[in-house]
Symmetry: D2
Subunit: 357 residues, 4 copies
Amino acid sequence: MTPVQNDRQQFASDNLAGICPEALQSLLDANASGHQPAYGDDVWTQKSTDMIRELFQTDCDVYYVFNGTAANSLALASMCQSYHSVICSPVAHIETDECGGPEFFSNGSKLLVGEDESPAARLGKLTPDAVEHLVTKRRDIHYPKPKVVSITQATELGTVYTVEEVRAIAAIAKRRHLKVHMDGARFANAVAALDVHPSEVTWRAGVDVLCFGGTKNGLPMGEAVVFFDRELSADFAWRVKQAGQLASKMRFISAPWVGMLDGDTWLRNARHANAMAQRLHQAIHALPGVRVLHPPQANSVFVQLPAAAIARLHAAGWLFYEFIAGGGCRLMCAWDTQPETVDAFAADLAGVCAQAA
Amino acid sequence: MTPVQNDRQQFASDNLAGICPEALQSLLDANASGHQPAYGDDVWTQKSTDMIRELFQTDCDVYYVFNGTAANSLALASMCQSYHSVICSPVAHIETDECGGPEFFSNGSKLLVGEDESPAARLGKLTPDAVEHLVTKRRDIHYPKPKVVSITQATELGTVYTVEEVRAIAAIAKRRHLKVHMDGARFANAVAALDVHPSEVTWRAGVDVLCFGGTKNGLPMGEAVVFFDRELSADFAWRVKQAGQLASKMRFISAPWVGMLDGDTWLRNARHANAMAQRLHQAIHALPGVRVLHPPQANSVFVQLPAAAIARLHAAGWLFYEFIAGGGCRLMCAWDTQPETVDAFAADLAGVCAQAA
Amino acid sequence: MTPVQNDRQQFASDNLAGICPEALQSLLDANASGHQPAYGDDVWTQKSTDMIRELFQTDCDVYYVFNGTAANSLALASMCQSYHSVICSPVAHIETDECGGPEFFSNGSKLLVGEDESPAARLGKLTPDAVEHLVTKRRDIHYPKPKVVSITQATELGTVYTVEEVRAIAAIAKRRHLKVHMDGARFANAVAALDVHPSEVTWRAGVDVLCFGGTKNGLPMGEAVVFFDRELSADFAWRVKQAGQLASKMRFISAPWVGMLDGDTWLRNARHANAMAQRLHQAIHALPGVRVLHPPQANSVFVQLPAAAIARLHAAGWLFYEFIAGGGCRLMCAWDTQPETVDAFAADLAGVCAQAA
Amino acid sequence: MTPVQNDRQQFASDNLAGICPEALQSLLDANASGHQPAYGDDVWTQKSTDMIRELFQTDCDVYYVFNGTAANSLALASMCQSYHSVICSPVAHIETDECGGPEFFSNGSKLLVGEDESPAARLGKLTPDAVEHLVTKRRDIHYPKPKVVSITQATELGTVYTVEEVRAIAAIAKRRHLKVHMDGARFANAVAALDVHPSEVTWRAGVDVLCFGGTKNGLPMGEAVVFFDRELSADFAWRVKQAGQLASKMRFISAPWVGMLDGDTWLRNARHANAMAQRLHQAIHALPGVRVLHPPQANSVFVQLPAAAIARLHAAGWLFYEFIAGGGCRLMCAWDTQPETVDAFAADLAGVCAQAA
């Protein structure tokens, strides 16, 4: 195996990647301008939020927070009281990887996991039927009252809700008086995959609040909470401040967003990451011993590999996570994943698979 | 008046300043290194926390969070249950400017404001007598039980607790079974002013937890919560994660700390800011109509100015806050405040004072 | 001194009194009826809430909770998010004697104490000016946003807001978009003192939510939260359940309310307690060494007594609280305070005063 | 069918029953004693807590709260921080019927449901294997850290953990540094069923905190939180007060406990209820169409009945809950269930079953 300089960590997660050049340049520009107003009263914050409004073609409210757990938790807390509940998929990040952040910020709202045996559910998606089941199962005051449906776009399994799927979820939500939250940690990858206007898969499809992720797309940190239903953001500035999520030197969060949004860098980054996942899939799906769990739609490939193959790849320095039962591995691509790295990984995998066979 | 490029905002707050060169260089270095482990498992986080331990000459626990409200609130929450209380000065940032963050993160702990008529209290300091009074005033279960004393070093009035003053607070705290929290948003300025080893005014004086501020000292964002009493930090990593304060790309928080700590940049920045406050004080204290409220110790000057003078300065573009009754203005200096800017402000002030007189 | 069987505890608090006969009889009736629906679906709960609606001549929402801290805290939480604040008097029970309950149930809302030098403030009342001052003092996002005005009727100092005073508070509240909460732990005593219809001093004067106290008026436990603004009680049943305030055997809370409301027992009890306070005042106000702080309006007398007199009365078994600086004592009367007990106390007090003089 | 006066509600829940004579007598005695100290400083509170200590033969800490949701939630909150988790059975009352109370009082602790395919799990019990699985499944900071195991004794399915089963759970808990909480809403029924000393199945088996239920056993309201591990109850009095769970007229909670504990009324009540469940089981288990889900161990019988039979019984006024899939009904007996009522129900059921067959 030919070692490549620490690119072998590249398939672990897109949050191991650095800052993309366009975002970095904006950060440097913002720093070069001397003293600037704090707490978001600066020109970059104004400009980037205007750009997000333009991007979505609607007069939404935009707030920046530091990370995805905060974005999701605060957005949910703005829609839930402590005795309400949030319906989500069993693999939703808010359920499995935010250490109870949504419960904490809402002071106790319960997450209700919507499961069914449908093909969509196996792809990590929440289904309208699962939502309907949970809303109608309990209506008494001894159980938290459903108030929000949360979907992740792209999902935690690297799949993407179609516009129709989002609309179907939103229709049930509307009928049952639930708000619709979209965890868009990899929203860019979803939009790139769907090749639709961002508004089509959000507010035009019935989404009330989007957590628009920037970190995994090439920012150093900082996510945008985008309220399409502006009534939900009443006093949200106070909530952000109290929650320790208001950056005093806000420009260092917002200026990189300018760099990302300008000239559609965000979409280009996402398309690249998605393309790398496709390239990886092409290169490995037919290898002996490799079983792709589902064709990649966004920027990750989920595969089952023989235990011995995993061990040898890890020994060779390749970093990736296993968290699906029976050998399922997540191979994640980022805005800066190089074709050479994909090819090197595929070659190594081919080698260990041949060895195992 | 000769306008100086937007340095006229410089006296508003030290959090209007940008990133200092040393911190920025570290950030760029961290970005140049490709993919790196997330959530603090990177070399910069390891290095910077080791440097903080070395700086304090003790084996403390160090956690980074995004901003000062989070640092203070999470530190206090780690010491308080919801039915406990925190004793602080009436001008403490946790009381006046964190929008109830400490109450939120602790799920209801009450802040008890310790006031007295002492000279120290007029300088924005909490006194041992004020603490003793609050601890002994109520001991019944119908009132929150005091659990923590919080002091700000340097204080919100730009003054600095001496080592003896910190020790005296800590002695009362120890006797009354209270923990000691230090809000060190401007800790660097205090250490620079006192010219003591950082350990002398913290753990050697009885401080249990320090929120070591970096943002006002030249970082883009990111504060260090330093637990000298390591029992208090049990499970703190979970608390940080749940609270939405764990950066996935942690290196962009920690690498700038390396730049700040290396070669004592933090202290040099602070000394400079303090010196600018002294220069400003020298230049303006004897002007007619100007009444300095107390000699500056850290990086700010508090003065009473005639209303007309304030209006003219603002009209000329000089930005600063008034928030003390009767015309008191806060003139804050930062790591990058230029002597020329100080002199220009002093000249303008002299002009408007002469005009007023 | 002639000891009277443990009536000497009577002046300590009206919550040391037992259950009045009418309430007890209803409780016994409710118990005699065998199995009954739980959680409030019983006839007594239906009947008593209807009676409260009739009493107030409006279609309000009524919920029972176990005690006054819960009533106030849950009512406030239904109006406040964590980053909001509640304006109240410095002597308000919610501020001084609920151990941070309001902060806990609201997940961090701050209580802002409205103080001024007015005669009304000295009588324990919040004034419109104090409210206006606090609402306008801070409007930035770094400080909790005022959302509710809370007044106690009768006040903690045994005084009573006039209808005009309540209206004036409510007018400011309306203009500043604040809701009006009334802590009515001794609401009955206030209505008895004012001799007005209960609606006059509540919703007709602009009160949105009343915590109608029963315990101090002769119930074993159980307070009614009465929402005149029914929009505020959306999902309140879930809030009560989650907060551990929903009695499964609800009839034992609600049936005694039937007994209290039937035939105006609640008002008769209150009138008696008030009359006993007047009798006590008459008997002692002119004694040498006795200084009544203000003429009693509800069911308590606040007096300054010589330290020696207090000691001798306590030694003789008389129980009462001192909590006003400089010897102020609270002498509380209850629904069952006997004229003989009042006279015996007055005689003893006269004796110790004479001895002291 | 011969209608019996509203005893037809008897099988719905043991919390539809009234106050047992012994508890009522104590309440009346407490009321006859005039003014008494508030907040638990009365003789009944002292006596009843001493009686509980004697009952358990250990120096435990005892606190009364108003209901079961509060007892469980506050007990759990005393052991958990917001980022911790509680392991329980999927049918645990804390999970299914407290409207998120545990999450609210702990400010966000997550309940982790321990499921497996074992016979014990089908009887509503948590198993050591399920606990071990959940503790070891996730150890990273992105998921709440397990801190408590909660078991319900008797379970929500009317079954009872043996002493050995409790010990086995406690052994895993000890090894994994978890505390053990017992929801004893029907603790009396469990002790009666096991016929062991109460200490054997609690602290001697490794239980740290017991919520000892009184309401379902014949009290009007009021549960005892019993801390066998007294370190866990540090400052618990403040927690109870802040949470709105401290009765001012505490004697009306505690005196009935004296009546219940005196002469083992609590155990006699429980034995009676259990015997009625056995009688019911005997009378109906062999009826055609009736399928008992498991032999009753405490005071309830769970059966599957034909839909038509359920409809006819309900039409005839018999009240009971269906909440197990496929026709499972819960028939609950109480301290006051009469043999005649059991027989009348059995006769009616026999009738409708014959009709259906």
